[in-house]
């Protein structure tokens, strides 16, 4: 089975546990914390993924790290995954967990690129526009990239809403040179 399928199964199982035990918020917060931990501390990821380190050792590491920081259920889940020899997928499982959770709650994390920082008013406007476009509750992850010259580029799942000046100039260049026969 593909990694994607396996991660989805584990993630939905964790989500089901969270719902059953009514600890949804707690577990969701735990997952984000663990994920952040894994992403920021490279050594942790390497250690957990390493095939040389024995399973007991990995369990001890997890225990020592997260015992006081996350809820019992989350800890139990991580240990379970390690016992099933799926620790390499742990990161994917948590990512899928967040994706599935957001999908269920109708939340969406949108990456927006702008050329310069926006005023609060503009941000609010942008947010409401994007919410209208996507029909979801939007949280904006703003990035500043001077290369786009002006306008914005919003990425929602696989769709890009591109209103940047750079893109317009690129289109213009293409049109003028007529280099690409495929785009009429």
């Amino acid at each position: 089975m593909s990694d994607f399928n396996v991660s989805s199964r584990y993630a939905s199982a964790l989500l089901a546990v969270a719902n059953d035990t009514k600890q949804f918020d707690v577990i969701a917060a735990d997952v984000e914390l663990v994920l952040k931990c894994f992403l920021t501390v490279k050594e942790l990821k390497v250690a957990i993924n390493s095939p040389i380190i024995k399973q007991e050792k990995k369990l001890q590491i997890i225990e020592a790290l997260f015992k006081n920081n996350v809820s019992d259920k989350t800890l139990e889940f991580i240990k379970f995954v390690i016992k099933k020899n799926r620790e390499t997928l742990l990161l994917n499982i948590f990512k899928r967990f967040i994706e599935i959770k957001n999908h269920k709650l109708g939340l969406s994390d949108i990456k927006v690129k702008v050329a310069f920082d926006l005023s609060e008013e503009l941000k609010g406007k942008l947010k409401s526009t994007l919410e209208n476009l996507t029909n979801k509750k939007v949280s904006i992850n703003l990035q500043i990239d001077e290369k786009i010259i002006g306008g914005f580029i919003a990425e929602h799942e696989n769709t890009v809403y591109d209103a940047s000046i750079k893109h317009s100039l690129d289109l213009l260049k293409k049109k003028l040179t007529q280099g690409d026969f495929i785009l009429n």
Binding site: N158, V160, A163, H167, S168, L171, L172, K175, D180
Partner: protein
């Protein structure tokens, strides 16, 4: 490129930049996970369609072939070294398609429709998807018009009809391409004023070259140009040097132009040279896409690969305009082995095959057609009546000859009737020899087949048969042009006409000088 005038530029600039504020370009993207060997795995592109074209950076175009749960598998039509992991891939929303239109004629193009002949951009009419479902039963009608190849052996014994699929199969260096090229050159007549007068509709040709050498393709184009056949022909070129995905789609692209003419109620002939190389290209990309291999490592759908292509050849019903698309697929066998996987598949799909043999070729029998095992399953209905009448016994005569051929070395020890069969067979085989790029019009074929089957060659030595035929045709052309005229116009042999032919040939035999 055409000149760009400054005022035009300003105009376009204004157009592009005006309304800039409210113009948001919405497109869908994915990320390249893995790339190599002309294949890219792309994460995202959730809504991508099968065979949709996608755009990679640096102008590389790809086509979606595998749709998986979390990723899509794309084949690249360009250099895979220009694509890196993590690159953004854009959907185009357009399935792979090919430009069609009358202006495509006379051009050499890639399987994506880009011109290769340096004659500038093509003013095509529209794009048509390269993968189209073949027509159903209701939309078709039986094959009934002949497609003259100009090769006497084929037109007399293995006739091809418009809308038929006739396989040309044989080892390397047996003249497969030559047969197809001759067939294309012979369509020149259908574009003439004279043909129009006799109600013969023009046939537009497509020559699809898959996995061949660039030099071979250049030679074919030069030959077509030399014989004035290029003006009604499109050459789709996917030489061995281009990536496998382009070789894979080339025949479909060729079929698309053919279908354009067919759907307009016109007639088209499509030569796929050759499908074994296309199958190899498809095997390559299937294995790279990790599809499970089957017999000879071809994927499971290699039969469908060819059947869906050749099913597109068809004769339309009168309600749909009565157009036709004839397919002449070519298959190269290894050491004459027709029981290999691809040859058996294609033999079973097509309506007959022309089998070329290397030992016949080496024995000087050109075209090297093995008449015994070559068949045409539907073309018989399409033959003109005159030809049907004279060619009726030709195949049987040759079959009888083949049966007795082994005894030929006993020479004079044989009885009279055997000797007669042998000498007739030898002369018939001799007269079926024909030079390359020398297509013979059907009325001349009828007259010479008449001479052959009625045993007028009996008194002529084998080495003089070809000369006799040539001189006799010239003689008829000079003294009895009405014979050709009548066959051309009425397409039947009346009793008077037969008598006239008989007297012409008996008269000529007495005049003919046998060489020393």
């Amino acid at each position: 490129m055409a000149e760009v005038r400054p005022d035009e530029v300003t105009e376009i600039l204004r157009k592009q930049l005006s309304g800039f504020e409210n113009e948001i370009d919405i497109y869908e993207v994915g990320t390249v996970l893995q790339v190599g060997d002309g294949i890219a795995r792309v994460y995202g592109l959730n809504k991508a369609m099968s065979t949709e074209l996608v755009e990679f950076p640096n102008g590389v175009i790809g086509m979606v072939l595998n749709l998986e749960e979390d990723s899509v598998g794309c084949v690249l039509f360009g250099e895979s070294s220009l694509v890196k992991e993590g690159d953004q891939v854009k959907r185009t929303g357009r399935v792979a398609s090919f430009p069609v239109g009358p202006k495509m004629l006379g051009r050499v193009v890639t399987p994506l429709g880009e011109p290769l002949d340096g004659k500038g951009p093509i003013d095509f009419e529209k794009y048509m998807p390269i993968e189209r479902k073949a027509l159903g039963v209701i939309d078709r009608s039986p094959v009934k018009e002949p497609l003259q190849t100009g090769i006497t052996a084929i037109d007399a014994m293995i006739p091809i009809g418009r809308g038929q699929r006739e396989l040309i199969i044989g080892d390397r260096q047996t003249g497969k391409t030559a047969v197809a090229i001759d067939a294309i050159i012979n369509q020149k007549y259908t574009h003439s004023e004279e043909a129009k007068k006799y109600g013969i509709q023009p046939v537009y040709c497509v020559y699809v070259a898959v996995g061949q050498k660039n030099s071979t393709i250049a030679q074919v184009v030069a030959k077509l140009e030399e014989h004035g056949a290029m003006e009604f022909t499109t050459v789709v070129s996917a030489p061995a040097s281009v990536p496998a995905p382009l070789q894979y789609i080339a025949p479909y692209a060729g079929a698309t132009i053919g279908e354009y003419f067919r759907d307009k109620g016109e007639h088209a002939l499509c030569v796929y040279d050759d499908l074994s190389k296309q199958a190899v290209a498809y095997r390559e990309l299937s294995l790279l896409l990790r599809r499970p291999p089957g017999r000879e490592a071809y994927p499971g759908d290699v039969f469908y690969l060819h059947s869906r292509l050749l099913e597109r050849a068809s004769k339309l019903s009168p309600e749909l305009g009565g157009g036709s698309l004839t397919a002449l697929p070519i298959i190269e066998t290894q050491q004459g082995d027709v029981s290999a996987y691809i040859p058996t598949n294609v033999i079973s799909i097509t309506d007959g095959q022309i089998y070329l043999e290397s030992n016949l070729f080496n024995a000087g029998m050109r075209p090297a057609i093995n008449i015994g095992i070559s068949v045409s399953r539907v073309g018989g209905n399409a033959q003109i009546k005159a030809m049907k009448k004279v060619a009726g016994t030709l195949k049987i005569d040759l079959a009888q000859f083949r049966e007795l051929e082994a005894f030929a070395k006993f020479g004079s020890d044989l009885d009279k009737s055997t000797q007669k069969t042998l000498s007739k067979g030898e002369r018939l085989l001799e007269f079926l020899k024909q030079g390359q790029y020398e297509p013979v019009p059907v009325e001349k074929q009828v007259v010479s087949v008449f001479v052959g089957t009625n045993d007028y060659f009996a008194s002529i030595p084998v080495k003089d048969v070809k000369r006799f035929e040539k001189e006799f045709l010239e003689h008829v052309d000079l003294k009895y042009p009405e014979i050709f005229e009548e066959i051309r116009a009425k397409k039947v042999l009346s009793d008077e006409l037969i008598e006239k032919m008989k007297s012409a040939v008996t008269e000529f035999i007495t005049k003919f000088k046998i060489s020393e």
